[in-house]
Symmetry: C2
Subunit: 148 residues, 2 copies
């Protein structure tokens, strides 16, 4: 996300990767999404998914962590008003390593708040077989490095 001036429309940025463990998948889902195919390996095996899969919210939150660690300039970020078109395309399973990248789609200065702008990013996550597992479009609000 960086400062507004630093953001280049069309630029693609790798934001790192994370390996999902069975333990972490179950721990997240017990707290936030306790459906059998997220928390119970035996029940999951008999489910439509054929085994344990991560909650989609776990995948989304994990990619947020990658974004914060690699792409958010903490002094510049003013958070996000939301996202669009989140799609969970493939299950994330224990042992899967998910890498993500972001592409700036467009950016614009705020019309009402001097020194502040917003940018839209396509965020895509892939597993170790290069299959896309999640995709969404996110909006970030950030400061200018040098307000006029």
């Amino acid at each position: 996300m960086q400062y507004f001036e630093d953001i280049e429309i069309g630029a693609v940025r790798d934001i790192g990767s994370h390996t999902f463990t069975e333990q972490a998948i179950i721990a997240f889902a017990k707290q936030f999404d306790p459906q059998p195919f997220h928390i119970d390996p035996v029940a999951a095996k008999g489910s439509a998914f054929g085994g344990l899969i991560a909650s989609g919210w776990h995948t989304a939150a994990t990619v947020m962590r990658l974004l914060v660690d690699s792409a958010v300039e903490l002094d510049a970020s003013l958070g996000s008003p939301g996202f669009d078109d989140l799609a969970w395309l493939k299950p994330v399973r224990p042992g899967d390593t998910i890498r993500a990248r972001m592409t700036c789609l467009d950016k614009a200065p705020s019309r009402s708040r001097p020194g502040i702008g917003s940018a839209r990013f396509l965020v895509e996550a892939f597993n170790q077989n290069d299959e896309m597992v999640m995709r969404y479009t996110s909006i970030g609000i950030m400061r200018f490095r040098n307000p006029a």
Copy 2:
């Protein structure tokens, strides 16, 4: 979400409430969204938000938990392919009690998979002052209770 036949288009369903503690806000954000306004009460006070606020992903995951506890028929649910138009409209702060409701927008049987259907829901979350804090549109996939 329930079984496909149980879902009534236009029906509004309260799915319960949850109170966010400072401790839980910080714990979630330390793991998934470690921006200063989510993890550091002192830095948050000096931020644009004027105090600690929950990660939007924490709010979303918490509402997922309300959905699972109150509205998902575990034998029927086949998960979700994604979400649209998620908007974080107001900050969620320590002590805020967030209640949520879901409204079925439409539903349709699968054309390719007998005994399975999908439905779209508007999910809305409000704070204790009846201000909407989050909104999104979700798709759920579920079984028929009585497949033809």
